[in-house]
């Protein structure tokens, strides 16, 4: 796989392309977040790149909540993947933004497909895309607090919209023949039908 896009990016943006790598045809460029939108416009419009097909945009939380500072300067890695239908090549462009105030330019005006993807990245990670036409939560609800895919969000913390019922399992044994154990009990009773236990079903029934 040729590295045309990476070469063109380095030519154009110089030191603002922080890293490049290429692994089995996957070209990756890490750029400075301040040039994010310019890079997007460049890979779309440059005659050697012509990346007209938007594939994906999301973010990665790179911190370890046990050891790292949650405000570390390169905590969230925002990336987009674009493909060229004419040149048949693709590139992944990344930018790292701080955990303290994660902000980056929106590229929804370059590829309109990025609109909902940016909303998802905002919803899940809290990265703010500046210039986005309608930056609202897309998967979670408005009442939801926090951003669930951030590493500091407790894995099983739910924020129910409907209050949970209490005493959902008030039945005591004996249970019917076909009934298993209630979810929170560890005994099962299998009784013959007697006058005392009219609900127990006959085994031959």
């Amino acid at each position: 796989m040729s590295k045309i896009i990476l070469d063109r990016l380095q030519e154009k943006f110089g030191a603002d392309v922080l890293e490049t790598s290429s692994f089995r045809g996957d070209d990756v460029a890490v750029v400075r977040p301040s040039r994010w939108r310019e890079v997007a416009e460049f890979v779309k419009n440059d005659p050697a790149c012509q990346c007209d097909y938007f594939v994906d945009l999301s973010a990665v939380d790179r911190c370890d909540p046990n050891t790292d500072d949650l405000d570390m300067p390169d905590r969230f890695e925002v990336f987009f993947i674009v493909h060229s239908l004419k040149k048949k090549h693709r590139v992944r462009v990344k930018a790292r933004v701080s955990g303290e105030d994660p902000r980056i330019d929106s590229i929804a005006s370059v590829w309109s497909g990025a609109n909902w993807q940016e909303r998802e990245a905002f919803d899940m990670f809290g990265v703010r895309f500046e210039g986005h036409p309608d930056l609202r939560r897309i998967l979670m609800y408005e009442e939801f607090e926090g951003h669930p895919l951030r590493k500091e969000y407790p894995a099983n913390r739910a924020q129910p919209l409907v209050a949970y019922r209490e005493n959902t399992f008030d039945k005591l044994g004996p249970f019917l023949r076909d009934e298993g154990m209630p979810l929170n009990r560890s005994v099962s009773v299998d009784l013959e039908r007697t006058p005392e236990n009219p609900h127990a079903l006959d085994k031959n029934n």
């Binding site: 969000y153 739910a158 129910p160 919209l161 409907v162 949970y164 076909d178 154990m181």
Partner: protein
């Protein structure tokens, strides 16, 4: 009428005989064979529900033939699949729209207890939101388990039992095993 409750008495016989029973027992007996269903299908269990409802397994044999596309006309709410927190208000509203008497079947492990989802997005079992009559575990449950669950619900309706129940594994009766073996032998001989 054999499966009416124990309060039923058959008096006399032949053409002039009659039957006495309790009114609610008769009503429940009628109800359990005329279940209009409302499938609330959200996830992959839906495919298994379609298999169970279609002719090969045929829910219609149990009087649960007609699916209604409005909860107002349905007796049984089948909750088929994972329910997310965001969906929970919709599910509860649909339950509230159903007219009494109404029953709920939790189809599959996710609807019963949240399954392997233990996270911010999933309701850990629909009984946290609405009352459930029968839970059918399985990921997804086999159609036989679904039919078992429906029969368990009918049994509970007949007895007026409104407590939640979990379907458990059923052993194949010995005579069924023997007849299956015989079938197998016949096939081998051909």
């Amino acid at each position: 009428m054999a499966d009416l409750s124990s309060d039923t008495r058959i008096v006399g016989g032949g053409e002039s005989g009659f039957v006495t029973t309790r009114f609610d027992a008769l009503l429940n007996w009628a109800r359990k064979y005329s279940l209009f269903q409302y499938p609330f299908v959200t996830a992959c269990c839906g495919m298994e529900f379609m298999a169970a409802a279609s002719p090969r397994y045929d829910l219609a044999r149990f009087g649960a033939e007609a699916p209604r596309f409005s909860p107002r006309q349905a007796d049984v709410l089948w909750v088929v699949g994972t329910i997310s927190q965001r969906q929970a208000p919709a599910l509860r509203r649909i339950y509230e729209q159903m007219t009494e008497p109404k029953w709920v079947i939790a189809f599959g492990t996710c609807a019963s207890c949240g399954g392997f989802y233990d996270n911010y997005a999933t309701v850990p079992g629909i009984d946290k939101i609405i009352p459930v009559d029968v839970m059918i575990p399985g990921c997804p449950p086999r159609p036989e388990a679904v039919l078992d669950g429906l029969m368990l619900l009918q049994k509970k309706i007949g007895e007026g039992d409104r407590t939640p129940a979990v379907l458990k594994n059923t052993e194949m009766p010995e005579e069924h095993k023997r007849s299956l073996e015989q079938l197998h032998q016949i096939r081998l001989k051909r």
